[in-house]
């Protein structure tokens, strides 16, 4: 794409991103930052579908309150609800089913999930370990992938910044969704985040790889900004296409796929978009600004 300049307007990219990240962090830090699902906090959930009468979310909430429950309800579709309660055992579940049927007409229990505090604590711990392990693995990989770059540390750090940006974006969106729609974060969400991490580093590494090649070709007299832009322009077609192809299928899954994995696919999609954005508009631009800043300092010092 001739004439595409992704380097000069980078101030705006940084500004835009900073605003979004700030908003996201705000949402994450003000409790409840993320609505944690029962896999992390223990409890029971049920997905029910009312087949006889039309039931509204308000009616369902009232009925459950009358039965002495404090429910969190998410409406999934016509007469279909996801209910989260304190822990109940099977006898209680059967009784609840009967009581709801008496009040609101026939219903089907599509699924039932019950997690004890022991398991919830373990899941939390395992999630933390998984994230830490993935982080270490990715960092090692970045160190290895950038071994041939001049000043590999800077490039690696920029890749890591892009990565953190991607994860924060996904977390922020789900923090907002949690507030607005009661969408909960479960083990599959962690899965999506890790998958995003794996995928997003790809793109960034490819671009930096191209940058290395171009810097090598340009030699000492390299105009950094020019080379960065050249590298970006040369790889933009590839970056966009690969992201688009994966995005196609994921959007299809989101729109037409089953309701059980909707949140999971949504997390993947957001991660993918954030990852593409950070690779094209942030990673190398940050590197450039950093490099220039160092160059200025050196010039002033000498």
């Amino acid at each position: 794409m001739k004439g595409l300049d992704l380097v000069t307007p980078r101030k705006w990219f940084f500004l835009g991103t900073a605003i979004i990240i700030a908003l996201g962090l705000a949402s994450l830090l003000i409790p409840p930052g993320l609505r944690l699902g029962i896999e992390f906090t223990s409890g029971s959930t049920m997905t029910v579908r009312f087949t006889e009468k039309e039931v509204s979310q308000a009616e369902l909430r009232q009925a459950l309150r009358d039965l002495d429950y404090e429910p969190i309800i998410q409406e999934l579709g016509k007469g279909e609800f996801f209910i989260r309660l304190r822990r109940i055992d099977r006898d209680e579940k059967a009784a609840l089913e009967k009581a709801l049927a008496e009040r609101l007409g026939k219903l089907e229990v599509l699924d039932f999930y019950d997690v004890s505090p022991i398991v919830a604590r373990e899941t939390g711990r395992n999630a933390a370990i998984a994230i830490a392990a993935a982080a270490v693995g990715i960092l090692l990989y970045i160190a290895w992938a950038f071994r041939r770059m001049p000043r590999a540390f800077h490039a690696g750090a920029c890749a890591v910044i892009a990565l953190i940006h991607d994860v924060l974006i996904v977390l922020s969106v789900f923090s907002l969704l949690g507030r607005l729609l009661n969408i909960q974060v479960d083990a599959l969400f962690i899965t999506a985040v890790l998958a995003v991490v794996g995928y997003s580093v790809n793109n960034t590494v490819v671009i930096f790889d191209r940058l290395r090649e171009n810097l090598g070709k340009a030699g000492r007299k390299a105009n950094l900004a020019q080379e960065v832009n050249r590298s970006l322009v040369e790889t933009v077609s590839r970056s966009l296409n690969t992201s688009l192809t994966t995005l196609f299928v994921m959007v299809c899954l989101l729109l037409f796929g089953g309701v059980t994995i909707k949140n999971f696919v949504l997390a993947l999609i957001i991660g993918l978009i954030a990852g593409t954005y950070s690779s094209l508009f942030l990673a190398t631009q940050i590197w450039l600004t950093w490099k220039e800043g160092l160059g200025l300092r050196r010039a002033r010092a000498s």
Partner: protein, 441 residues
């Protein structure tokens, strides 16, 4: 670079084999049986239950290992007697947890009650006061029970369910048609029972299940071998007889996690996910051909073959497909195109620098290969971590996603490099290949 006919032949053979494997519904060859794909509980419908054993009550001579193995055995017997097809019972290695999977059980509540209950049967007699009368409370019920014991070989032995023969069954009382659980004693049990019943003629005998009194019939005469327990519903009687035959659990179990998925939801989700996958795939193919023309068409072919190859692997290994796993497969379809896009973009550049078509293809592939390999490495790292995470959780969806994504990406590397390259070389050999326009500069 000439096209190697052996390579083409091998590729075709693999593709043919994969297609056959995927499309044939039922395969029985020698010991190798595949009836369709293995589906996870979230698609088939069923229950996943995690039980934790309370090992605190173990005596000094009893090992945890034996107790756990015993518990698994008891559960297995109960499930077999109840009749659940394809139930899976696994013990967490070295730990005190048992995972039970019951696919498609109609009345899950009953099945779970069957498994989780310790079902320790024991017999007790009423406590007597100094005059030998039964101490009763205000309502006239026996106030206190003491364990019913007899003497065998000079030692006092408490009569419990472990002396039962595995002959417990449910019978109907001939006169009242009420269900009864009929049990039979082994040699020692019979001796004990004889001693106890002779002591208790005219008095109630307390029958306790897990420390709950379930029946207290008045002993009419001395009984030795057989006995009945009355006062239960048919369902209760059936469950109890299964439990008595399977034996009591050596240690009490508690449910720490359970998940039921109804078959309706599962089937619905599967249908929708497949539909989404097909639409997505169609869009992909359309995009490939529209944007990259002839190479795109070749990539589309390679993609379809790739799809069949991965599905064949899923059937072969076999991989348990969950909804997340299917999502992983569909995502890997998108990523498989990735590799092809990389190659084509590289080819475009080589062509722009003026190389011949043939040279462009070859250099395109070798340059792109390092990029493909490196970029897939991060996905492999993520998959490895995810697989570990999923296995710690016992969460099939997480593991399923990790496996399908890993396999998908690995196979995509194969198809992109080997299949696409050879098809392109093949295309070069045809008249179409001479025309650069088809290759989109």
């Amino acid at each position: 670079m000439k096209v190697n006919p052996w390579t083409i032949g091998l590729i075709l053979a693999i593709i043919a084999f994969s297609t056959w494997l995927v499309l044939t519904p039922s395969i029985h060859i020698g010991g190798f049986v595949r009836e369709g794909f293995r589906l996870g509980l979230d698609i088939k419908g069923g229950s996943h239950i995690v039980l934790e054993a309370d090992l605190s009550g173990l005596g000094p001579g009893e090992s945890a290992e034996e107790a756990m193995r015993g518990a698994v055995e008891v559960i297995r017997r109960r499930i077999d007697a109840y009749g659940v097809a394809e139930a899976v019972i696994q013990r967490q290695p070295g730990g005190n947890r048992i995972i039970v999977q019951l696919p498609g059980v109609e009345d899950v509540e009953e099945a779970v009650k069957l498994i989780g209950q310790t079902a320790q049967l024991d017999f007790r007699e009423p406590k007597l006061d100094e005059n030998g009368n039964i101490i009763r409370d205000e309502e006239g019920n026996v106030k206190e029970w003491v364990p019913a014991e007899g003497i065998i070989d000079g030692k006092k032995v408490h009569l419990t369910g472990r002396f039962l023969k595995q002959r417990t069954q449910v019978v109907l009382d001939p006169t009242t048609n009420e269900p009864m659980v009929q049990f039979e004693w082994n040699k020692e049990g019979a001796k004990l029972f004889e001693q106890i019943t002779s002591r208790l003629v005219g008095k109630p005998l307390g029958i306790f299940l897990d420390d709950q009194l379930i029946s207290a019939p008045i002993v009419r005469s001395v009984i030795t071998n057989r006995g009945v327990i009355e006062g239960l519903t048919l369902e209760e009687a059936r469950l109890l007889s299964i439990q008595l035959n399977a034996g009591a659990l050596p240690v009490p179990l508690k449910i720490i996690q359970q998940q039921d998925v109804s078959a309706i939801l599962g089937a619905d989700s599967l249908k929708r996910s497949l539909r989404a996958g097909i639409v997505g795939l169609a869009l992909l193919l359309f995009f490939l051909i529209a944007y990259y023309r002839l190479p795109g068409f070749i990539a589309a072919l390679a993609l379809i073959f790739y799809g069949f190859l991965v599905l064949a692997l899923f059937k072969l290994i076999p991989v348990t497909l969950t909804l997340a796993g299917i999502a992983g497969f569909i995502v890997s379809l998108g990523m498989a195109v990735d590799a092809n896009v990389l190659i084509f973009e590289r080819m475009k550049e080589e062509l722009r620098t003026g190389r011949t078509l043939r040279a462009a293809i070859e250099t395109g592939f070798s340059r792109a290969w390092t990029a493909i390999r490196d970029s897939n490495l991060t996905t492999f790292i993520a998959c490895a971590v995810l697989y570990w995470f999923g296995s710690r959780l016992g969460a099939a969806p997480v593991m399923g996603f990790a496996v399908t994504l890993f396999l998908g990406v690995a196979v995509s590397m194969f198809t992109a490099i080997i299949v696409t390259r050879n098809l392109l070389r093949l295309a070069l050999a045809t008249p179409l290949g001479k025309r650069r326009e088809w290759f989109k500069i």
